[in-house]
């Protein structure tokens, strides 16, 4: 009975919640900021790298190789290692403009580097899923390679990859907590500090709830898009 009361106290002390919520919320705003910035950057960089990987001809071979090396490296390296590399490595280089940024900036760089590699693969699958006859049709009308990509292939590819892309973004949103290892004062780190001070755990519960609350709408929206697509495809099959 005593142990039970202790658990209750450690997790559900109402007073502790009233203190933890504003504290963790302040940290969570850093997460939100990192998500927003990293997501926009990832969308742009990943598309660029996916396009580079698809460039035709022998002249583009070095560029393609570079793009492949990039995605291989950042898909294969644990994000926590990338965090250390960026968060401790870049300041260590002592380069003007690069080495004196805030931890949050290093966090955003880490997330962008890693998730750009994932999302590049998503885009690439989308681009390859557009049937070759669409390119033939575009090229045969006299559109250049880039015009065909820009107006015909990529718009179709992007529509198809929205659900898997949103899935990756759910991962990105959660991984904003990992960059706490380089000292970004985001929700997880704030929660940990709060917990250490108070000797209880409501701050972690609060952090968990914040993350879940912003993930649920995205997850439902992704489900909705997938269902929509399936419905459309079924309708077309008949």
């Amino acid at each position: 009975m005593h142990a039970f009361r202790q658990v209750i106290h450690a997790f559900f002390n109402p007073h502790s919640y009233t203190l933890a919520i504003p504290d963790v919320w302040a940290g969570f705003q850093v997460n939100l900021k990192m998500m927003g910035i990293a997501e926009v950057l990832v969308l742009v960089f990943a598309l660029s790298i996916a396009i580079v990987r698809g460039l035709p001809g022998p002249a583009a071979k070095p560029l393609r190789a570079l793009a492949i090396a990039y995605t291989d490296f950042f898909r294969g390296t644990p994000i926590i290692v990338v965090s250390f590399l960026i968060g401790f490595g870049l300041p260590g280089l002592q380069l003007a403009g690069i080495s004196n940024q805030s931890n949050m900036v290093y966090g955003v760089i880490t997330l962008t580097l890693v998730y750009t590699a994932y999302v590049t693969e998503v885009y690439r699958a989308g681009i390859e899923s557009v049937h070759a006859s669409q390119r033939s049709a575009a090229r045969s009308l006299g559109l250049s390679y880039f015009q065909s990509m820009r107006y015909v292939v990529i718009p179709q590819a992007v529509r198809r990859v929205i659900p898997p892309l949103l899935n990756d973004f759910i991962g990105l949103q959660k991984d904003t907590a990992i960059v706490s290892v380089i000292g970004v004062s985001e929700a997880a780190l704030t929660a940990q500090q709060f917990s250490n001070r108070n000797g209880d755990f409501p701050s972690y519960v609060v952090a968990a709830v914040f993350f879940v609350l912003i993930t649920i709408p995205l997850a439902r929206f992704t489900d909705h898009l997938v269902q929509e697509r399936e419905r459309k495809e079924r309708a077309q099959a008949f």
């Binding site: 033939s136 049709a137 559109l143």
Partner: protein, 257 residues
């Protein structure tokens, strides 16, 4: 007259000893063919005889390995030609229509004139709308292709090519994917084009139609033009036994259906 029109004294389309391999497989075998301006040439032949490949080579969607192709005085097989420039003069329509599904009918027709020729949106629309009216689909201008029947989609694909005001049209079995009752609308449009003097090369399985519109029929067999001549001769009195066999088989199949 057409000879003088394109400067170098040859026919509008000149194909000389063209051969093409896919790996080990020879798909075109020393094809030689002249198409004068305003003429309609029909390619017939069994599946796999190389009709599509020949058309795709004419539009540089495939590279020939040997021989020479000249269209409107431009040597396609020359390395330094501007591929996009050339393609703007040559329209091609495929069996599978290949309309762009994320664009409306009107946008499909306007895209290439706007982006490849760089004309304004208004000008492109002025070009596109009469073309859609001509095929009776102006009311569908703002629909997406998946809301159209196969025959309607194929006619849009044809006017999409026409919007570039090409000098040569290549049509690759454009009615093969269509239900029989939708074929005639598409063929009417092609007939109209032929009557208006468009130079065309078409691969087709519609023998009746080939006979009616073609100035010349080429029978392809194993990548060779085995026999060519005016439709009356080819259909009534083919010289080659293989041509005779092929026609007998196709006409039999048409009767059965």
């Amino acid at each position: 007259m057409s000879v003088a029109a394109n400067g170098n004294g040859g026919a509008f389309v000149q194909i000389r000893d063209v051969s093409k391999w896919f790996g080990e497989l020879q798909v075109l075998d020393k094809i030689t063919l002249d198409v004068p301006e305003h003429d309609v040439v029909c390619l017939i032949g069994a599946s796999g005889s190389g009709k599509s490949t020949l058309l795709r080579c004419l539009n540089l969607l495939e590279q020939v390995n040997e021989g020479e192709i000249v269209v409107d005085g431009v040597r396609l097989t020359h390395e330094k030609i501007d591929v996009n420039e050339l393609r703007r003069k040559i329209g091609i329509v495929f069996q599978a229509y290949n309309l762009f599904p994320h664009m409306t009918v009107l946008q499909n027709v306007m895209l290439a004139p706007r982006k490849a020729l760089g004309i304004s949106r208004d000008e492109a629309e002025e070009r596109a709308r009469p073309l859609l009216r001509r095929i009776g689909l102006e009311a569908k201008a703002d629909e997406y292709p998946d809301r159209l029947s196969g025959g309607q989609q194929q006619r849009v694909a044809i006017v999409r090519a026409l919007a570039m005001q090409p000098k040569l049209m290549l049509l690759d079995e454009i009615t093969s994917a269509l239900d029989p009752q939708l074929v005639s609308d598409v063929l009417d449009l092609v007939r109209e084009l032929a009557d208006s003097g468009m130079t065309m090369i078409l691969a087709t399985h519609e023998m009746g139609f080939a006979r009616e519109v073609a100035d010349k029929i080429c029978f392809l067999d194993g990548g060779c033009i085995l026999e060519e001549g005016p439709p009356e001769q080819i259909f009534r009195d083919p010289r080659e036994p293989r041509t005779r066999q092929f026609l007998a088989r196709v006409l039999e199949a048409e009767r059965m259906s």
